[in-house]
Amino acid sequence: MIHVSGLEKFFQGKRVLHGLNVDIPRGSALGIIGGSGSGKTTLMRCINGLLRFEQGQVRCGDVDLLPTLSEKDYKKRLQSLRRQVGMVFQHLYLFPHKTALQNVIEAPLYVANISRDQAIAEGERWLERFGIAHTAHRRPEALSGGEQQRVAIIRALMMKPKILFLDEPTSALDPKRSSDVREIFNEFVRQGSTLVLVTHSIRFLRGLADQILYMESGEVVESGSAEQVLDAPKDPRTRAFLEYA
C-alpha cells in the first residue's frame, strides 16, 4: 500500500532524511518510533504529500510522488491522494470556530458532498462511540485535551480513508481511553485499511502495530515485526531507546 525508496529530504541545504526505504502492506499498521528530531514526522509528511522531497520516490495508495513532478502535476496527484489518506496531527489543528460536531462533518459535507442529515447522524454515532457525545455542541476551547484528540481522530475517520496517518494520537488520553481508541484502530486495520503512526507510547503500539521502525538522525536504525523490535531489539541504539520508553 505504501512503498518508499531512497527518500531524501533537505531543510535549507541540510539533509534530514538519509535515503529511507519503507514498505507497508495493505491492512497493516506501522509504528514509527524514535527520539525527538529523529525525522519521524518528516518522514510521515513526505509520504502523505504535505512535504515535497528532493530524492527517491514514494508510492502511497495508487499515487506516485516524485521530486521531478512539476508543481501543477504534483498538486493534481495530491488531489487523488487526499481522497485516500487521512491524518491526525500532533497539535490536532481542530477548527476553533466550529463545534466538535461541526468539525467532524465539515469535510463530509463540503468535500464528500453527503447530505447534512447523514453527516450529522454519522458524526454523532462516532462521538458516541468515542464517549464524547456530550461535546457535540462545544467549541474546541471548551474541550479537554483528551476530548479534543478524539474529535481530531473522528474528523479523520469520517472521510473513510484507506490510509490513516497518526502523529502522537493518544498523548492526552488516559490508559483506559487509550485502550479503547486502540481497539477502534485495530478494527480499522482489520477492515483492510492501513495505519501509520508516530508515537512515543510503546505501550500503545503493543497489540496494534504489526511492524515497528526505529529512527535516529534521519536514518532507519532498525525495522521489523513489532514483537521482534520491541522485545528483542538487535541494535544497541534501539535497545537504549526502549529502555527509556
Partner: protein
C-alpha cells in the same frame, strides 16, 4: 483561546469616560442656558435686549456679572472707550461718527482678520509674489489706518469662524466682504458700509435657457454657504448647493455639475472671468460690505466709521474701487451717506436645525456604510494580493497601500473630485465621497485583514488540506471565519473612525453632519449648543455600532454556541 493580537483596548472606551464627557457637554449647555436667563435682569431695562450668543466665546465668565471688556493683551490695550462707564451697546447716532471724543491707546496696532485663501479680489496673496498681500480690502484697511494714523496687521483666518475669532480677541476687526445680517447683529457691531455689492448670476457660455434667476427653477445653482446669495436662494426656494470655496463652484459649473453660480459681483468679476462663462443678466439684489467689530469696542467703531466717511468723501475709496474695477454709480451713495441696504437674515429655528442635522446624519450614515463596504471588499482583495499573489501583484498592492495611507484623505478626495470628470466620468458628489473614502480605508482595512489572516496558524491550512479541502473552500470555511474574529475589533475601530472621517466630504460640498454643523453654527453663531447636538448625533450612531460589534465578538467567541450544527 490565544490572546487576540489585534484587539485594541481603545475601541472600547470605558463607560465612565464617556459619561464624563457627556456630563461636561451637558454642563456647558446648562451654563449657556443660565447665562441667557440671567442676562436681561442684569441690565437696565431701557437697553436693547442683549445678544445671548455673544457669551458663547466666554462661557467661563460669571453669568450674573455685567460684561467686562476682554482682558487686554500686551499688544492690544483695551479698546473700550475709557470715558464710557456703561459697557453696553449704545447705538451711535450717525452725527457722532465724524466727531472724535477719545484717543486710541498709544501704540495701538489695528489687527484685522480675513480669509485670504481664494480671496480674490478682496484679500489675497499676489500670484506674482506669494508674500505680498493685495486686494481692495487690503487697500481700504491701509487707507483707514492712514486716516487714523495707526499701523495695521493682517491675521489670516477661516471664513466660517471669523466672528468667534473676533470675539476671542484674535483680531480687532473683520474686513472680509462681511454682510450685515440680523444674526451677526446680535453678536458684533457693524461699521458703515464700504462697498455696495450686488449679485451676479453666471452660466456656461452655451447656456440658452437661463437669463434671470427665475429661469433657474428646477436647476441646480451653486453659491457660497451662508452668504447673501445663499439666503436669497433659500428665500426663493430655489435648489442650490452651498460651496466652501468659490473656485470649486465655478469649476463645477464648467464641468456641468451645476447649471449656474450666484455670487457677489466682485467674486464673479474675478472668478468667472473666462470664455467658458457668461453673465446671465445684469447684477441685482444689493447688499453691503461692512467691517465687523466687537460690540464693546465703541471707540474703535467711532474711529472706523469716521475713517470710512473720510475715505469715501475724499475720493480714496473711489480710487481703490476703480483700480479693482469695482466702481459703479451706486457707490456714490457711500460718500453721500445715503447708501441703503437690507439686513438679511437666515431663518434659524431649532426644529429646522434639528431637521437639517438629522438629514445630514442620514447622509453621514450612508457615506460611512457605503465607504466601509468598498473598504472591506477591496481591503480583502489587497490583503490576499499581498499574501498570496504573484510578485508583481504584490508590488502593486504594496504601492496601493502606501499611497493611500501616506497621503491625506482630503487631497485624495479633491483629486478624485476633479480628475473623474476629466476622464469623462460624472458621478454625484456623494458617490465620489463614498468611493474616495472607500479607497482610502481599503488601504487600512487591507493591513488589518493581512495581519488577521497571517495570525491563523499554517496548521489550519494543512488540517483542511488533508481533509481534501481545496484552497478556496479552506479559505471560505476555515481561514476567513477565524480571521474575521481576529479582525473584528480593529475593524470596529476603523468603522468608528470612518464615521468621523466622513466629515472631509464637506470639501466636495456633500451635506454631511460636520458640514451641517459648520453651516448652521456659522450662520447662527450657536457654536456650542449646535456642537453638542452634533456630537450627540455622532454618538447616537457610533455607540450602538460599538455595542453591536462587541455583541458579535462575544458570540463568535462563545465556547458553547447552543445552535444547531449548521456549519
Amino acid at each position: 483561546m490565544p490572546p487576540n493580537p489585534l484587539s485594541d483596548a481603545r475601541c472600547h472606551p470605558p463607560p465612565h469616560r464617556l459619561l464624563q464627557w457627556l456630563f461636561a457637554l451637558f454642563a456647558l449647555f446648562l451654563s449657556e442656558r443660565t447665562s441667557r436667563a440671567h442676562l436681561p435682569t442684569s441690565r437696565p431695562t431701557s437697553q436693547k435686549p442683549v445678544p445671548s450668543a455673544s457669551l458663547h466665546t466666554s462661557p467661563t465668565s460669571a453669568p450674573s456679572k455685567p460684561r467686562t471688556p476682554l482682558p487686554p493683551t500686551p499688544h492690544t490695550p483695551a479698546l473700550t472707550n475709557p470715558s464710557s462707564t456703561q459697557p453696553s451697546i449704545q447705538p451711535i447716532p450717525s452725527k457722532l461718527s465724524t466727531s472724535i471724543d477719545g484717543q486710541l491707546p498709544k501704540g495701538f496696532v489695528l489687527r484685522w482678520g480675513a480669509d485670504s485663501s481664494g480671496g480674490m479680489p478682496f484679500v489675497f496673496y499676489s500670484p506674482q509674489d506669494p508674500n505680498q498681500l493685495i486686494g481692495f480690502e487690503k487697500e481700504i484697511v491701509d487707507a483707514i489706518g492712514k486716516v487714523l494714523g495707526i499701523p495695521n496687521r493682517f491675521h489670516r483666518a477661516n471664513w466660517a469662524t471669523l466672528v468667534p475669532d473676533l470675539q476671542r480677541n484674535t483680531f480687532d476687526i473683520i474686513v472680509n466682504g462681511l454682510e450685515p445680517t440680523s444674526d451677526r447683529a446680535k453678536v458684533i457691531a457693524f461699521s458703515k458700509p464700504y462697498y455696495i455689492f450686488r449679485q451676479q448670476l453666471t452660466v456656461r457660455k452655451d447656456e440658452t435657457k437661463i437669463k434671470t434667476l427665475d429661469d433657474c427653477k428646477g436647476r441646480l445653482i451653486g453659491t457660497l454657504d451662508n452668504t447673501a446669495a445663499s439666503r436669497l436662494l433659500e428665500s426663493k426656494k430655489l435648489r442650490y448647493r452651498g460651496y466652501d470655496d468659490q473656485s470649486v463652484a465655478y469649476k463645477d459649473l464648467e464641468i456641468g455639475r451645476i447649471d449656474a453660480v450666484l455670487l457677489d459681483y466682485p467674486i464673479a468679476l474675478y472668478f468667472a472671468n473666462s470664455p467658458k462663462f457668461k453673465p446671465a443678466g445684469p447684477p441685482f439684489h444689493r447688499g453691503a460690505y461692512i467691517i465687523g467689530m466687537r460690540k464693546q469696542d465703541t471707540l474703535l467703531k467711532h474711529k472706523i466709521d469716521h475713517a470710512i466717511d473720510r475715505i469715501a468723501q475724499d475720493g480714496t475709496l473711489e480710487r481703490i474701487l476703480r483700480k479693482w474695477r469695482l466702481w459703479d454709480d451706486i457707490q456714490k451713495e457711500l460718500a453721500a451717506g445715503t447708501a441703503k441696504y437690507e439686513i438679511t437674515s437666515l431663518d434659524f429655528s431649532w426644529p429646522n436645525a434639528f431637521k437639517r442635522l438629522g438629514m445630514a446624519a442620514i447622509i453621514t450614515i450612508g457615506l460611512a456604510f457605503g465607504a466601509m463596504l468598498i473598504a472591506m471588499l477591496l481591503g480583502l482583495l489587497v490583503a490576499l494580493g499581498q499574501l498570496h499573489a504573484s510578485a508583481s501583484v504584490r508590488v502593486l498592492c504594496n504601492i496601493y497601500v502606501e499611497f493611500f495611507r501616506g497621503t491625506p484623505i482630503l487631497v485624495q478626495l479633491l483629486f478624485l473630485y476633479f480628475s473623474l470628470p476629466m476622464v469623462g466620468i460624472t458621478i454625484p458628489n456623494w458617490l465620489t465621497a463614498i468611493i474616495g473614502l472607500g479607497l482610502n480605508y481599503a488601504a487600512y482595512e487591507s493591513q488589518v485583514y493581512r495581519t488577521a489572516l497571517q495570525s491563523i496558524p499554517a496548521g489550519q491550512w494543512e488540517a483542511a488540506a488533508v481533509l481534501g479541502m481545496g484552497p478556496w473552500l479552506t479559505f471560505r470555511r476555515v481561514i476567513f471565519p477565524q480571521a474575521f474574529r481576529v479582525a473584528l475589533p480593529p475593524m470596529t475601530n476603523d468603522f468608528v473612525a470612518l464615521f468621523k472621517d466622513t466629515s472631509v466630504a464637506f470639501a466636495i460640498s456633500v451635506w454631511e453632519l460636520a458640514t451641517a454643523y459648520r453651516e448652521l453654527a456659522s450662520a447662527s453663531q450657536k457654536f456650542m449648543v449646535l456642537g453638542a447636538l452634533t456630537s450627540l448625533f455622532y454618538l447616537a450612531m457610533s455607540v450602538p455600532l460599538s455595542y453591536l460589534a462587541r455583541r458579535l465578538e462575544a458570540r463568535l467567541q462563545d465556547p458553547h454556541p447552543q445552535d444547531n450544527p449548521k456549519a
